[in-house]
């Protein structure tokens, strides 16, 4: 039975992939804060406030007067030595919390930030566990060969096995490609009729 192969699978390799992905997350999430000029800080802030009168636009984008004024205020306040939080607080006091382009990270609003990574993490873990159990369960059932379906299938499976053995022999006798076992062809083909 081909089932033999399934148990010899290396269980270590997948972690390389997860490590890779984790690395992407960490690197990108860890937004570095390098020394920036006043204008750079100001234009970064422009993108964090909504224009109060134009739906769906930040003051960075909007061309109406109030947006221009707000951009000016940001530059004045930064020049006067206030920091990003002071500017935020100033606008929130005036226009309410919806002036922020994304919710603050406190109270109920922190949910917007917390829920996605938590849910994604849980579902990825769950997916992994479900698939792992599914795989083990199926393998066990296929391996036992005692339920009726598999009994009925047995002659056919035997024939398949025989045929596979034959073509493997043929491959070997063809030479050169003998080193390629059934499960390892680089194009990912499991077929042996190539």
């Amino acid at each position: 039975m081909t089932a033999v192969h399934w148990t010899t699978r290396s269980s270590r390799t997948p972690h390389v992939l997860y490590l890779f992905i984790a690395l992407v997350f960490i690197l990108t999430a860890a937004c570095s804060s390098v020394e920036q000029s006043l204008e750079q800080r100001a234009s970064a802030l422009d993108k964090k406030f909504m224009c109060p009168v134009c739906p769906g636009e930040t003051i960075d984008q909007a061309q109406v007067q109030i947006a221009k004024d707000m951009r000016q205020i940001i530059r004045e306040k930064l020049a006067a030595g206030e920091d990003e939080n002071d500017v935020s607080q100033f606008f929130v006091d005036r226009y309410g919390i919806q002036v922020l382009a994304s919710p603050p990270t406190s109270g109920f609003n922190s949910l917007v930030w917390i829920v996605p990574p938590v849910v994604l993490g849980i579902s990825l873990t769950a997916l992994y566990m479900i698939l792992r159990d599914m795989r083990r369960g199926k393998l066990a059932r296929v391996g036992r060969m005692n339920d009726t379906t598999n009994q009925a299938l047995a002659p056919y499976l035997d024939a398949v096995d025989e045929e596979m053995k034959q073509s493997e022999l043929k491959r070997r006798s063809a030479g050169g490609r003998a080193s390629a076992p059934l499960t390892r062809s680089d194009d990912g083909s499991e077929e042996v009729n190539g």
């Binding site: 990108t28 984008q61 002036v99 680089d186 077929e191 009729n193």
Partner: protein
Amino acid sequence: MAELGQLTLMLGLALTVYATLGSVLGARKGIPELVVSARNATYLITVVGFATAIALIVAFVTNDFSIEFVYSHSSTVMNRAFLWVAFFSGNEGSLLFIVLTLSIMTSVALFLSPHSFADALPYTTAILTGIMGFFYFVLVFFASPFDSLDFTAVEGLGINPLLTHPGMFIHPPLQMTGLVGIAIPFAFAFGSLIAGKTRDEWLDLARVSAIIIWAVLGSGILVGAWWAYTILGWGGYWGWDPIENVAFMPWLALTTFIHSVMVQKRRGMFRMWNVVLLSVAFVLAQFGMFINRGGPVVSVHSFGASTLGVIFLGFMLFSLAFALFVFFWRFNDLKSDRPLESFLSREASFLLNNFLLLGIVGVTLWGVLFPLASEFAQAETVTVSAPYFNRINGPMLLALVLLMGVGPVLPWRRANQASLKRWLLLPAIFAIGAFVGMIASGLERPIALFAFSVLVFVATSIGQEWYRGTMARRRSGDNFVIGFWKLVNGNRPRHGGYVVHLSILVLAFGVIGTQFYSQREDTVLNLGESFEIDNYRIEFASHEDEPRADRLAQWANINVYKDGDYVGLLQPWSAFYPGFNQVSVRAGISTGPIEDLYIIPTDFLDARGEGVTAGGGPVTRAIFRVSINPLAWWLWISGPIFILGTVIALWPQPAVELSPARIRRRRPTGSTAFQAGD
């Protein structure tokens, strides 16, 4: 014309009801005549839909302002070429367009579906005509484009100035066709399930139609981004606005499906999952319509806004219930043929792809809905906009791109260390080399450099596969070009897929460049003055204006010099539309592969520093916002490549090649397979 139009709408409604009921009854009771008759009725709906559209077009062309829709969306003084845009620039007209495009697609789908699908076809038909029936119902009773105006008008209001842009000729049609068209693959799958054909009968039909719709929707989104880039005036091609998000989510769900369906096609796995994915895409498309037509969300472009939100919400919930019902009804028949064998296999990489794509969908949906949740839970209005989406979706999108370099080279079933090394070593070396090289050459923003390296990784992975395949062909006597041609031709779905992946890389290249390296300055220039930014010098040479009946347009003539050499003339343009009390701005853009110089006029001023509208006095000064957007050119180049890849993937294989044995033998991905196969 109005009466005729109204009549055809009612006829359309009647026909959809007949076609839906006829199909279902005919199939259940086994009356072939009824099934055929219902199908013919479906074709007739298309004809009637055309008649309705022509009635509306005639009304527009003849300036029939007794019709409210024509009155409020066109005028005699507007640029008449944009009458076509006016057709779908409002709620009623766009609904008519949607029902027409859906009926055309349905007719084509019915006509082309193979004989082997005949048992399930009536149910597929019924689903599609049922959806059309819903739109006709809304058109007839709530949003007829033929309603008459309460008073007499000699002039219309005109078209929304934001829409008078060449992109608008194709963006809304593509977008609407793409969104409503998701119904086609959905109907193929669910028609098949209802008919009890629960194996893979629907697979190819759903796959091919899904890919077409996916390409249409994707192109529509890209054209929309181009429009936003040139007209909204702030250089923002994508703002994670709710309306953008609700078009993006179904596209992502379709992307998930067309990947996952490959596993079903090759391995007989993920059957249940694929049905779920189609349902998700379909319901998300309904959600998009709900948000678009008077949903409870604030957006920058609510052109189709109406008070029909509740009706569309109802339809979305009904669609959801329908999909769930059929799914659980056939739950036991949707089992996989095989279990997953290894977490390091093509199947598993498809699963990870699915996870990431749906993760992005979920994150985006959460962002769209959170303001409502906040309103409900704490009675406080909050905004969830770009910073949230960039922070959370950005890394996931990058991981997805990375997976494009890994997944396709993993073998089905399971991989081993040797094949991993064989296929991933070179890309990894190239990527690390590129990263080190970019750091060494002094480029800033390490995150962007990391992202660029990921692109290098994937590009190398694809290039390596093509190179090895072509070299293998060369060994059998073909030259490089013919070898490559034969390679691609031998497995078009796969290599078309690679071309699409390349287009995504190109797109990502542009996104990273513009997101991380854009610079911008505001400047006040007197006539004749110059301003320098980076290695550009721009000179405000002259000012022109053109007051017209519907708009007061003015623009600056700006000479652009780069490194001292004259590059060209840019004309950043702005116009005031009195009828809409609205200013529309067009950027002056000098584009190229390296960077765009992007200028928008913020204000035109007279000698006293007062703002001037066109014709309102001599302009001596102007305020410009000057940006340099690196790599923006690549965003738009990705479009043609994307289309090319889709066409390659969908190009029909000659029938002889469809026998499984030949496909297997010809599957030309690794060099060993080549030698063996040829």
